[in-house]
Symmetry: C2
Subunit: 663 residues, 2 copies
């Protein structure tokens, strides 16, 4: 809790005799839990430091850069269906993808400047397009973050397996264990200390540049050989001619290289001031490195005749050909690639819970997702992500090529929505020439949410054209993607998207409805309760029930004790004991020839509740047996619990549990 609000609460309490305020500094001790997840952190401990461009690149680029580890291979996988000759198409396709990348980068650069407080697709769509597009962007991104974890982890394990083929049969358990490991690390809370991120990111970039540099120089000197002992090429489907459809399919696969490009726009606030400027420069650098790596890998892969395979990745083939063997340099490249892929999964573990919390805060997901756990992270979102991603890994057996058709479609939907939103943003701003800044006229998503104010921008036209063009390009790619990958798995995403959106809306309606019913506006408190009618069902006369009777009598003079006599002999015993131990209290015995226990009591209570006087309430005192040893619960009927649950839904009835702990 921030100190200034703390002060505010203290102030209010000081002025009001009926209100007191105290801060509880208590940290609970839970040995093993804390050892595993770390000691709790106070709300005031939330990190506030900002980062520069170099560290920012390391923190935000791992997702985007890591996709170079599989993008080339996934283009080749499709081209291979049309035979070895078609593989050379990978180079022009990569160039096309890089052009798309440049368009998207420029578009996002504009977004970063327009939304200095964070311009993710969800926010941009929410600000400019309204509820449904925002929810579509949110759902698409959430799905894609899950797929980022599954794809990156599967690809990371594929790199590992390329270097250590003995691990081939254990791909799935290794991938799942790694997801669990990242989950635990994130539940502890990753301090974005820069160094932790910088080392693997720059190491990867460095190693790849060295590899590609060697490769190009060898190529130019004519000493670059083809892959020795290439892995057997496996076709992922039936062989086909080199059709336009196939080429588009390969292109769609390759666009996986663009995933992660939006990361910086979500995290602008993490940068040092001038943050929009710094974030924009970092974005440019990232795009530059990404372009170089992607084109380089595609070119050298083609030069050495690398083939797509589930047994050895293209990166591994490339490294061992350039460095002529599985030597130290080779191992460093593969190790760096594996590490950056793990870092990429880790990025999703930061993005998914944050977006989940944002959507939950707007009331479209369960509110619990917006609560921070003891380590100040959105624990529930982290666990949810780990669980669903692991499920995907198991279902798709950690095969990257099977996951790719589901991947990236969500990213392109969010690109399209974000760019369209920006185009509209510039168009609206053009109307404000010479006027005061104004908020958007859209209905805000939540009562607590207000739109960012819009100001006039003199360059609105070129900016609108850039974003509009970006929207059209990414929209077309998304369409190509949906059509060409439909059969391979994209249909799953196209079905899940509206389902998720419907879920968001259902959750939202519930919260809205609830707020309406609980509101105090126009509420008139009814008069105080004047009379209590107390009913207490008992199963026998013993210390536990007599103790509960003592409590019942403290509530009201009007106490009726109920006993259901299922067994006549036992019923008689209860009567005689009652006469001895509570001769002055009222006992009603209900004979139940059909051995029903709850129904006669429920009927009796309901009857009493229906006939209660105004300002009277019926309190049911339930004496409850509580065993301290868990299995002892099995030795007793759960009648008290069932009764409680049924009575809770009876109007005008309040349930009191008087426990008797015996063990």
């Amino acid at each position: 809790m921030k100190d200034n609000t703390d002060k505010k609460l203290t102030e209010i309490a000081r002025q009001d005799d009926h209100i007191s305020y105290k801060k509880v500094g208590h940290i609970p001790k839970r040995g093993i839990w804390h050892w595993f997840f770390g000691r709790p952190l106070a709300s005031a401990d939330a990190p506030h430091q900002t980062i520069g461009k170099a560290v920012g690149l390391a923190v935000f680029a791992s997702d985007a850069l890591s996709s170079t580890a599989y993008a080339t291979q996934e283009i080749l996988v499709i081209l291979a269906l049309a035979g070895m000759g078609a593989l050379s198409l990978s180079v022009p396709l990569s160039i096309a993808i890089v052009i798309l990348l440049i368009i998207v980068t420029i578009s996002y650069e504009q977004t970063i400047h327009a939304y200095p407080n964070g311009g993710g697709a969800y926010i941009v769509a929410r600000e400019n397009l309204g509820e449904y597009p925002a929810l579509a962007a949110g759902a698409a991104l959430l799905m894609d973050y899950i797929l980022t974890v599954a794809v990156s982890m599967s690809s990371g394990v594929a790199q590992l397996v390329s270097a250590v083929p003995d691990l081939l049969p254990y791909q799935v358990p290794i991938a799942v264990s790694m997801v669990m490991f990242i989950m635990v690390v994130n539940l502890r809370g990753v301090r974005e200390s820069g160094v932790v991120f910088s080392i693997p990111t720059y190491f990867f970039v460095g190693m790849l540049f060295i590899t590609l540099g060697f490769g190009v120089s060898k190529y130019l000197t004519g000493t670059l050989h083809t892959v020795t002992n290439p892995p057997e090429m496996e076709l992922i489907g039936p062989a086909s001619g080199l059709t336009v459809f196939l080429v588009l399919r390969a292109f769609a696969n390759g666009t996986a290289a663009l995933t992660g490009i939006e990361a910086i726009s979500n995290g602008i606030t993490a940068f040092k001031e001038p943050r929009s400027h710094n974030a924009g420069v970092t974005l440019m650098w990232m795009a530059g490195i990404l372009t170089t790596l992607f084109l380089g890998i595609t070119f050298i892969s083609h030069a050495i005749g690398a083939v797509p395979s589930e047994v050895e990745t293209v990166i591994s083939q490339l490294a061992r050909t350039v460095f002529e063997g599985r030597n130290t340099a080779y191992l460093l490249v593969v190790g760096a690639t594996t590490t950056i892929l793990i870092m990429a999964a880790n990025t999703a573990f930061a993005d998914f819970p944050r977006l989940g919390a944002l959507i939950a805060g707007d009331g479209f997901l369960p509110r619990q997702l917006s609560f921070r756990g003891s380590r100040l992270v959105y624990s529930r979102g982290i666990v949810l992500l780990a669980f669903v991603a692991s499920l995907l890994i198991v279902v798709f057996q950690a095969r990257v090529s099977s996951l790719i058709p589901l991947y990236a479609i969500g990213v392109f939907l969010s690109f399209t929505l974000s760019q369209s939103g920006m185009a509209l943003h510039w168009w609206r701003s053009s109307k404000l020439k010479g006027k005061k800044p104004r908020r958007a006229k859209l209905k805000p998503l939540q009562a607590t949410h207000a739109h960012q104010a819009l100001t006039f921008d003199a360059n609105w036209l070129p900016k609108m054209i850039v974003n509009g063009f970006g929207a059209i390009c990414t929209g077309v790619v998304m369409f190509v993607f949906a059509v060409t990958k439909f059969q391979d798995g994209a249909w799953v995403v196209l079905i899940l998207l509206p389902i998720l959106m419907a879920g968001f809306l259902a959750v939202h309606n519930h919260y809205k409805d609830l707020a309406k019913r609980l509101t105090l506006e126009g509420f008139k408190l009814p008069g105080p309760i004047k009379r209590q009618k107390v009913i207490m069902p008992i199963s026998g006369v013993h210390r536990g029930t007599l103790n509960a009777l003592r409590y019942a009598k403290s509530l009201s003079k009007d106490v009726t004790v109920l006993h259901v006599a299922v067994d006549a002999e036992a019923g008689e015993k209860v009567l005689l004991k009652w006469q001895k131990w509570a001769p002055d209290d009222n006992l009603v015995v209900l004979g139940s020839p059909y051995r029903l226990l709850l129904e006669p009591i429920l009927r009796y209570v309901k009857n009493a509740a229906d006939n209660r006087k105004p300002n009277e309430i019926v309190t049911v005192v339930v004496p409850e047996f509580l065993p301290r040893v868990w299995w002892h619960g099995w030795l007793h009927t759960r009648a008290a619990q069932l009764l409680r649950l049924r009575l809770l839904f009876t109007d005008g009835v309040v349930v009191v549990e008087v426990p008797y702990v015996v063990d």
Copy 2:
């Protein structure tokens, strides 16, 4: 409820102003449930008619007689390991088993006369040997009833499959479905109408006598052929020489023929008077039929050269050889055998819950097992039996030969304990010559249980010798069984037996301990509660919590409302709302910088409870949100529930739930 006790309750209530009694005649309507399991039956509807010898034979003999369907085959299975030549040993082995059968029958005949109210092994051991032997007998019998279901059903399906080989791959699902069917029938409650039992039992006996008669006459006229196209003999283990161990193993397998012989001793009370006499005569008849069938089947099987097989049962081979083909007569024999095996499983569904209820009544199993369901049957025992037996069928893939090593060892343990108990019974009775009847000096198992009185019997010596000899014979067989079948699976039983007994004792100790703690003997009621300290935690100020506040204020003037401020801004909102809506009531705000919700409340309440005055009690009012739509529960934290559960175990605290149902 019986009418005379009903009258008694009415009488007590009439004389005491504070007690009222009324009988609830209400039958709840639960459509599909009743259609499936039948309408509830009143306690007064319990059947009281008794049966004669002919019907008695039908009701009690199915278990024993049905074992002839597999006993011969299971002898052959073992002998086959020593080669085809060894199969002829089945005839002398069967004769040895029949001699054992005669000894056991005479022993039980004596038990029936000594315990006319039911003389099962558990009761006889309880009356004469004490706690541990009784529990051993009980555990052994419960296990064997489960195995009776598994073995009979597997054998029944094997007969079916012999006639319709197409069903071979579906043995397990068929067997499990049949167990489920019998479970439902028994949950409805089997009216032992005699006819239902008589038809299949006498039909089976008749068909088998006809078959064997044909067989013997063909044998005498020299027209009995050997089996045509016999199934391939499968060895269940490695081939072996004809060792003594192997012969004993075959003998042990064959003793499965004796299972079920004890059934009549459990059900003496069902017979018409003179019941001991009628039960005894029925036992003799049953033993006679069993002997004839078992010897006949073994002899003819040997004569036709039947071989043991999992594909076609010996009974099937016998029937198609005698009747020369798979004709109507063949189908009738196999059908009758299948039916009697199903009836045998059904017997266990009557015995297991009854014995379970008996043991539960003595406090060694959860009391719920002694409660009768809406159809007057011990529903929980029936479901438990069906579940465990189905599990066995699945684990052992419905193979009779795999189940047999686990079977019958429990029966022989109970035989041994029962006969030893009877021997001791006669010895003790000899001491009473010329004295009054006396109860056993053993510690009774339960306070409510009294031993049957012992009277002098002039023939005590021969009777003691008979039972003593029976005990020795069955004891030796049990020992042989345990040794020869140890490896094949008997070890499971030998491990489970002491575990079950330990479970019985643990349950018993819990009940004894509980009774001691709840007893009113020496109990002095504390004075009435004078003061109520009410604490009410709230998560916000709205209709639900203000409604709960209204209730809290009706309990006491000393009401403190607690709010844990995890989020400072929300905390401030609560304060301001409180000042507006409940300005005169006390609010304590606890600032929780570690975002803990429950712990500060629990601490506060515990502190209040520890510092309470004499005759004061702390009542915690928990306003609880109850969604009507199940998944809406996920949209709210379960804080109220967790709080309630933790508070229930806090000494001196009573929990009141004030629900607000909103949907």
